[in-house]
Amino acid sequence: MKTKKLTALAMLTALSLIIFIIEAQLPPLVPIPGIKLGLANIVTLITIYMYGRKEAFCVLALRIGLGTVFTGHMLSLIYSISGGLLSYIVMALLFKLFDTKRLWVISILCAIAHNIGQITAAVAITHVPELIWYLPALMISAIITGAFTGVIAMLILNNRNIRRYME
C-alpha cells in the first residue's frame, strides 16, 4: 500500500469517526429507535467509489470498532455491526452497477439495508417480534436520510477540486 493511499484512508477513517461521534451526541429527532441521518455513511460511500471494496470495508470496520470505544456500550456495537455489515454488503454488490451520478440510489438502498439489519438485531436481542412494526417508519426514514447522504457524497465525488486534493 502506497503511503499516500494509507494516509488518505487513515484520514477518511478519522473523518467518519468524527462525524459518527458528533452525530451520536445529537438528541434523537423522533421517538422512534434507529432513526438518524447516518452521515458517517457519506465517507464509506466516497471510499468505495474512490478506492474500492476492501478499503471501504477497512474504513467502515475501524469506524464501528473505534466508534463503540468512544461513544457507547457493547450493545450498540451489535446494532452497528448488524446494520453496517448489511449495508456494506449491499454497497459492495451494487456499487459497480451505479456510476457516481446515481450514487443516491445506492445510498438509499444501503440505508434500507442498514435499518433492516438493525431491526433484525433488535428483535433478536429483545425477543419482541412486535418491534417489526417499526419497519415501515424506518423504511420511510431510510429513503429520506439515504437520499440526503447520497446527494452529499455525490456532490463531494463530483467536485473536481476535492477529488484532485484526495488523489
Binding site: 457507547g72 456500550h73 450493545l75 446515481r102 433488535a122 412486535e130 417508519a137
Partner: protein, 126 residues
Amino acid sequence: MKNNIKWIALFSVIIILCAALLIIRRNTPSDAVMARIVQDGNVIREIDLLTVDDPYEFSVSCDEGCNTIRVEKGRICVIDADCPDKICVNTGYISDSELPIVCLPHKLSIVVSGTDSGYDAVVGGQ
C-alpha cells in the same frame, strides 16, 4: 435522466405503501388490554390495563440502568429512564398494539396485546 425517474418512482411507491400501512394500523381498532413488560427476552410482568383503577408507578432495573413505568387505566408509559437516548420516555403513553415502547440500551420493551391468545400462540410455537 430516465433512469433517475424510475428510481424516484420506485422509492415514492415504497414511501406511500409504508405510510399507508402505518395509517391503516393506526386506524384499526384493537381490543388490546394486556401490557407485557419484556426485559432481555423474559416477560417480567403482565398487567391488565382495564383493571387499573388507581395509577401507580414502579421501576424496572437492569445492569445498565433503570426505567420507571407508570400505569394508568387503559394506558402505560415509561416516565423516566437513565438510558442515553430517552427514546422510551419520548414515546409517551401507549394504549394499543400499534407500536411497542422500546428501550434498546436496557433491552426493555413494553407491548400491549390482545387478551392473551395471540401471544400464547407465538410462545407455543417456539
